[in-house]
Symmetry: C2
Subunit: 313 residues, 2 copies
């Protein structure tokens, strides 16, 4: 029997479906990306068909990373907040039946953390926590070189009792206080209250269009509201980092996503706050570093998880 | 060569050193307990000597559980808040050299969690988080039947931004808002403010001697301040439970320690709060149950961890 050679990694999140073709040695041979479109399953099958056509008898397994809560054992997407068409869909069954290949699903941030472990910023660490910082906040946890099969919804840790309303229904979640959306909301609410800021002049005065990136640029230009917005969110992120340090005593925390672009204000403030709040002995041994793989982490991690499960060496 | 048969489990915490002698089949043959005394190491060696005298050539390994932050690899007690005489001591070296037997150390709440996994409330669960609720709050995490080698300082998750001062130096820790000490402080501060309560009459009016147990008894007698103190702490514990559920998506949370005695007020309130704050899909699959082993969990867990490491079956 011929020895199969490749795994496919899939990342369904944001507005795109991304895929990788990965060798047993974790070399990425091929990548592709396409908008999810109206029917995520249709797009997924189409892209998989194209990869199977390239190497019909050579696919060991498929790993699919999805944003949201997944049930690893049944293969069902329990709840994907952004891609609701997938809610309740048994992706493992759907895909494995069509392509006659073993399939697993994983949460997207978890898969990304494992990607960083395999060939990114986590390579040299046995234990680390990865946190994704964008419009939402997610996480993935690697302990003793293994990806923890848990929800890792680090964005939905309550850090502030009676704080901001979060999209999940709770109040005071890390995500509601430290994400890009939280930064934008902070700025807009202060503009409404009459704050003096160059952000008011963007978009012909339609300041509700302001993005976290605009705020970072304005902060670099010395705008004090913009700096305050980033620092406030940074302090809140610091609480999240402190919680992660006290619970996981990791060797490293890897930060990923758009907001890491404002490292020198937002992340630096977070590190300062974490140093004040976490147990000193644990803080001192935790490195806080940026992601290496960025957007590729999910497709690398999902393929690697599938290889590990279905073709352990 | 004779096949050795037993492990010793040690739990150094509170005011006592406790020990167990455990067979490979996890049967506890013998238990002992003695006050730590002024010199913890001396007491430890004396108790170990007595066990070694009983079965001189039959001890496979010793597992020692200590309250505080430990370094599993070096064997050093990094920081034990309650037994400061052990800070900086390499317990593994001290004990293994004297008794010519392999030794490991573990955090006490972690060891207790593994005890519950081996022969307690966690037997039927692959993944659970144990939380100890006393004057302090600790935790231990079991994922896929394995004890996670992390700090698991769940009591030092910040749940309330600008909240109460905690013994660790931070403000707003779960421990500072939901422990027995927090309950007592809540009651005392309200008595000082003139609250009408039967607690005032205890201890001939020396109300600063009031304990969490007094408060629970008074609550059962209908005292409203006592009930408020327990409910407030319960709500805060609920935030901790919600955080644990959202991060670990466990099958169960096991609650241990003195405060579980006031389950019907304090824990019930916590469960209600957790149901409001955690992700619904995760909350629904999490059972919240009491510990089975109580004080024995640490000596069972520490012996079992040592057996697993040094005599894997």
């Amino acid at each position: 029997m011929k020895h199969k050679s490749f795994a496919i990694g899939v990342d369904i999140g944001g507005t795109n479906i991304r895929m990788s073709l990965m060798s047993r040695k974790h070399e990425v041979l091929y990548k592709l990306k396409e908008p999810i479109g109206k029917d995520p399953l249709l797009t997924l099958h189409k892209l998989l068909d194209s990869l199977f056509n390239e190497c019909p008898d050579d696919i060991i397994a498929i790993g699919i990373a999805v944003a949201g809560i997944i049930d690893r054992e049944s293969g069902v997407v329990v709840k994907s907040p952004n891609i609701s068409a997938l809610n309740g869909v048994n992706l493992v069954k759907e895909v494995s039946e069509r392509h006659k290949t073993p399939v697993l699903i994983e949460n997207d941030a978890n898969a990304a953390a494992y990607g960083e472990k395999i060939s990114g910023a986590g390579r040299d660490y046995k234990s680390f926590v990865m946190i994704t910082l964008g419009t939402g906040i997610g996480g993935g946890i690697v302990i003793e070189n293994e990806l923890l099969p848990v929800a890792a919804e680090i964005g939905h840790i309550t850090i502030n009792h009676g704080g901001n309303k979060c999209g999940c229904g709770n109040t005071g979640c890390l995500e509601a206080h430290a994400s890009a959306s939280a930064i934008v909301e902070y700025a807009i609410s202060h503009i409404k209250d009459g704050a003096d800021t160059i952000l008011k002049n963007l978009y012909n005065g339609n300041y509700f269009k302001v993005t976290a990136e605009d705020i970072y640029k304005s902060a670099l230009e010395g705008d004090s509201l913009a700096r305050d917005a980033l620092r406030d969110a940074g302090r809140n992120l610091g609480l999240g980092l402190a919680n992660v340090i006290n619970v996981f005593s990791p060797e490293a925390i890897i930060l990923m996503g758009g907001l890491t672009g404002s490292w020198n204000i937002y992340v630096e403030q977070a590190i300062k706050e974490a140093s004040r709040r976490s147990l000193k002995e644990l803080f001192e041994r935790t490195k806080i570093i940026p992601s290496y793989l960025g957007d590729d982490a999910g497709i690398i991690g999902s393929a690697a998880v599938a290889l590990k499960r279905f073709s352990p060496t």
